[in-house]
Amino acid sequence: MAGNRLTDYMSHRWLDVWPLKTECYNRYMKRNYALYTTVSFLTLILSFSAYAQVRTSGDLTTTISLTFEKATLKEVLDRIEDLTNYKFYYVEDWLGESQVSGSYNKVPISIILQDVLKQTPLNYYRYSDNRIVLIRNSIIYDELPEGFFGNGPLNQQGEQVQVNAVFVDPDYFSAHEDQQIVQVETVRIGKEDKNSIRNRFRLSGHVRNKKTGEAIPDLSLLIINRNSGTVTDENGYYSIELPSGLNILETRSLGMEKAQKNLLLFNDGELDFGLNEKVEQLEEVIVAADAAKNVEQAMTGSTQIDAEESKNIPLVLGERDILKIATTLPGISTTGEGASGYTVRGGNTDQNLILLDDGVIYNPSHFFGIFQALNPYATKDVLIYKGNIPAEYGGRLSAVFDIRTKDSNLEKFAGEASIGPVTNNIVLEIPLTKEKSSILVGGRSSYSDWILHALNDERLSNSTASFYDLIAKYNGNINNNNDVKATAYYSKDAFSITSDSLYKYSNRLFTVNWNHRFNDKNTASLNIANSEYRFNIGYDGAANNDFDLGFKINETELKLKFNYLYNNAHKFTYGLEGKLYNSNPGSIAPKGSESNIQSLIIPKEKGFESALFFSDNYTINDRFLVDIGLRYSFFAALGKASERYYEAGVPKNESTLTEIKEFGNNKVIKTYSGPEIRASARYFLAPELSVKASFNSTMQYVHTLSNTTTVSPIDTWKLADANIKPARANQYSLGLYKNLDANSIELSIEGYYKTSWDVLDFKVGAQLLLNETIETEVLQGEGRAYGVELLLRKNRGDFNGWLGYTYSRSEIKFDSEFGEERINNGEYFPSNYDKPHDFSAVLNYKLTRRFSFSANFLYQTGRPVTYPVGRYTYNNTEYVYYSNRNEFRIPDYYRLDIGFNVEGNHKIKKFAHSFWTLSIYNVLGRNNPYSVFFVTENGQLKAYKSSIFAVPIPSITYSFKF
């Protein structure tokens, strides 16, 4: 067919003449990378043809006689071909089905063609003696039109007549064909009229919402290559005058999809089109979809930190740590360097559910909190819920840290590795079956004990300290409806600080996750997780008290979750979970035959925690969204156990013990249960401005036994039982959220008020480890916390980062009619985590693509401390006595870190992509007191403050990806 040959013709080279200025073009290209990559084939647009054979004019003077009645164009053209030796070249689809009639007697072909093509957007062009090409929209000029170079004829009004030929840079379209990702629609407007001397045309039209069909008012229509634009009126109509040729139209509106169209304007015309509601855009699709999350979702107090995006932030000794970064966000903090555990909105460090791929990690840190125990290259992101917690999560009072690992690359082998001052690290992504399944393996380990050996301290000369963590993750797509993920994780720390002791702790975790899609509306996921945390202390000294001491907690969880997209308004999530705890609360065994230590095993504890949950994400209208969740949790303390019962209402001790009751294996000792309400709502006050409120209640059935402010090596976990009740909390939050500058800037202010009951504390000097009657040391009291959190966050651009400020208080109360159970006369007093002012700034500045600079600044009010207020002499030694609990504060904490990052060059063919990080931690060398303590030395009292990193710590880390 003739039409097919057209392609051959079009594939010739075009002359490099175009009306777009190169400079603007380049700038444009830089600004809008998306478009740059999305230009499609536009092979039918041409400018000057340099084709040498084109010499004759388009006039077809051959005359023929022809009559036709309701014939299709094709029939007419075929007839002409029959009558002459002309051949037509065209794309058959262009001709359409329209019928023409006419009667000609010895008229030139050109007249006939002009008539029959009048109602079509087609022009014709005589390409060689007997070939005629039909062209859509364009007229092909075979010579430069008169006046093309500006010296054209003057029209009657004395204006210089502008040449109206439409020129398009063919290279512009052809050069980037290989990079195209999405086809930008090209729309031809109007039919070129050879006689027109106008070079500006009017484009008008109507824009509607594709889904609802409603008109879109106030939509910005930008002609981005002309620096002009217009806005639709209230009924969605627009009108704009544009120069002929290529006009790149882009639409911008809040809440509407951004659309681009390449308009080829040949004449006045109309363009009506529809837009989708959600933001969908190439490359930035994920970012853009999440960009409005701050204002859109109903959840209060949730934050996401992306591991890759946060890699520039300087951290101690160059070790990436997303959990540390989390502490720079309002409401989340640590007690200081060397303090493991996180405190969220005034809660204790044991009140956070830390999940790695849905399995619990009890101690997510190495080296007592200085480094995270998660491999940064295997980690994708962490989602933190500190306000409203989705109903599917439970078991902790304050927060959920949902850490997710990367899905391994299904396409090709990839990896990332680093060499830093403390650890080396490698992560490999290995596809198993292409596009079906892949496995990620990662390992990280500290070097030898140089940190300790660098110390000129005789006490540490024989010390060792090391840690490592391993991770493996499998992800496989079974088919369109099923995928399976499995994660295995192990982390271990070992220390031998004095020559005769060895301290070890480890986390072990295994999870399997199966996602199944029933249909478009129903999906389910089944999750099985097992995790274990243990520590062990071995002591092998000179005396006869060598021992092995151990603790272990193990939990196995099964969780089944369903998602049901009922309709556009209701999205349901429901399911159930069950968790079995097995704990060895402590054991000590003699080491060696000489040891006089008697074996002691605190009896195992067992508990079963389960919950049913249901939530409805209900879109009431465009502005109002509610997320109502209900969780009903249940806990049973199970035998085998000898449970001690005490007289009610008096302090528990040996003399008030009434009964010891024996329970057989799996016999229920005590049950607790209760509803937990997770409700939140969002209301749009204006586009990109929303108000949210939530109410959240939680229960917690396991607690740490710790009498220190930080997570300490010998903290153990205790299940609720007949004597220790579960803790409960209620939290109310209210916030305002605003996004600016197309979601690139998020602004939020959120307030909360939290009350809690039965939170644990301990009597003065309580002995918590290996205590068989721990309930006699425990106090359970009330807590209240409130605060306002401000966050300004800029996610994109060369200059990004965030500023956060929190004012918050956290107070607890332990009252009783018995002095030993009372703290501070039974009044509210600041908890260990009460730090009213907390400011942080995390700033990144990209100098060029390769160089970036970043800085953190943190400020916190010093945490409360119980100071000695007076002295006394006892047994010839001076002692101090203390103020009320937490009456004073340690000095304020502040720290500045800076980092400089150099990325390797961006050559595509390079083997690996490298990344250098130079950072200085604590640039100001601030001696931040980590703790304050008092020692009676030689009968004299001395006060000391200790700090972990009192000097600026430079480090350099090299990492590379392949």
Binding site: G338, I588, N596, I714, E820, G870, Y872, Y881, S946, S947
Partner: protein, 409 residues
């Protein structure tokens, strides 16, 4: 139990030390703008020894003040559940001694009564004497301590009664021989201290070369036999003497006293000890006001420090010589740096009326002591003496010349 907790503490401090590699621990002045209430402090341990029992009362003082701050003119008595009253008399400020010797009897409850000079009265919970235990042996072992330091560890083995208390507190009294290294049997005295004719003479020295020094423990030393099959304390270290401590230079003796306490008393002392030992940021304990068993009869909110304790006591003494452990090795440094000097017997430049030569000042203030003549045969009136720091020639600054009754060579 306690043993491993102690080791944990060392372990913890090691970890702390490791972390403080790049950080530091620094001393800072204690805030002094806090003026707390003055709190009554009661130190009262009644024992089963037949003796005049002793109770010490004092008051707390502000951080920037110096103690002790005795509580005087109080009426103190101990009453048992047989209505026997033992009245205490104040023998020196704050120290009250029972008028008659008595010993606590097993199975009997004792209570403390105090009325202060302000008229406030205080009482205590009733305490019962715990069954005593026996110290089987106290023995020295040369070893490296947890921090790798060489020295002599003093261990105790003791046996408690099968059903008796398993909680013990220790005190000790060290006595050790001191030999003045620059002892000579003469002393220089000043015969004429008037200008210009200063005159000195040598006389026979009254003090002897050997003295006996004494130190009393001031730390809280506790052990228990919880978690052990028998109520037997084995190899419990009460004291570690580093080898560079001069007290073990010659012959050393230690008297270890073991108090068998109630669990409550033990817990009180334990917490008190932990408060003062808290040097480890990782096991920092939550300090608070430590409530004992003494209370105010008029104001239940008033805070009182101290524990009225009734304990049974057992003691054991042990001796050892330096050469038993360090034969042929150099002695620890003498506590004084011994250098020989020759102070000027006259005033510089001839002097004038009223001037005092440095020799006179050194002799009178017992800064230096005679060691030798300046040059053989020279007369004191003309030349100078060779002198050494006082303690180098005369050990009475460090101990007493009197041989203690218990001393066995």
């Amino acid at each position: 139990m306690q043993k491993f907790v102690r080791h944990l503490r060392h372990l913890g401090s090691g970890i702390g030390g490791a972390l403080l590699l790049l950080g530091c621990i620094e001393s800072f002045p204690i805030e002094t703008d806090i003026t707390p209430d003055s709190i009554l402090v009661v130190e009262a341990t009644i024992t089963n020894e037949a003796k005049q029992q002793r109770i010490v009362l004092s008051r707390s003082y502000a951080l920037d003040q110096q103690g002790p701050n005795p509580e005087t003119n109080a009426q103190v008595k101990v009453v048992d559940d047989g209505q026997n009253e033992y009245v205490f008399q104040e023998t020196e400020p704050g120290t009250y001694v029972s008028s008659v010797p008595f010993s606590a009897k097993p199975g009997r409850g004792y209570g403390l009564n105090i009325v202060t000079s302000e008229g406030k009265s205080y009482g205590s919970d009733s305490q019962i004497l715990q069954t005593g235990s026996v110290i089987d042996s106290v023995y020295p072992v040369r070893e490296l301590n947890d921090f790798g330091k060489d020295g002599i560890a003093v261990y105790v083995d003791a046996t408690g009664s099968e059903n008796g208390s398993r909680y013990f507190r220790y005190t000790y009294e060290e006595t050790y021989k001191i030999v003045a290294p620059f002892y000579v049997p003469q002393d220089a005295i000043v015969v004429n201290d008037q200008w210009p004719d200063f005159e000195y003479a040598l006389v026979e020295r009254k003090s002897k070369q050997t003295c006996y020094g004494t130190r009393i423990s001031n730390q809280i030393i506790l052990s228990n036999t919880d978690g052990q099959s028998a109520n037997k304390t084995k190899r419990f270290q009460v004291k570690f003497i580093p080898r560079d401590d001069y007290s073990i230079s010659h012959r050393y003796s230690i008297l270890v006293k073991q108090y068998t306490q109630s669990a409550e008393a033990y817990a009180y002392y334990e917490t008190l000890r932990d408060f003062s030992l808290s040097e480890n940021p990782f096991s920092e304990n939550q300090p608070g006001f430590l409530e004992g068993n003494v209370f105010s009869k008029s104001d239940p909110k008033e805070r009182i420090i101290g524990f009225f304790d009734v304990a049974s006591v057992t003691t054991k003494r042990m001796f050892f010589n330096y050469v038993d452990f360090y034969p042929g090795e150099p002695l620890p440094h003498y506590p004084s740096f011994c250098s020989i000097v020759e102070p000027s017997p006259g005033c510089p430049g001839g002097g004038s009326a009223g001037c005092i030569p440095s020799m006179i000042r050194n002799i009178r203030e017992e800064i230096l002591v005679f060691y030798d003549l300046s040059s053989p045969g020279s007369e004191p009136a003309f030349g100078a003496y060779k002198m050494v720091p006082f303690a180098c020639g005369n050990c009475t600054k460090l101990g007493t010349n009197t041989v203690p009754d218990f001393w066995i060579e």
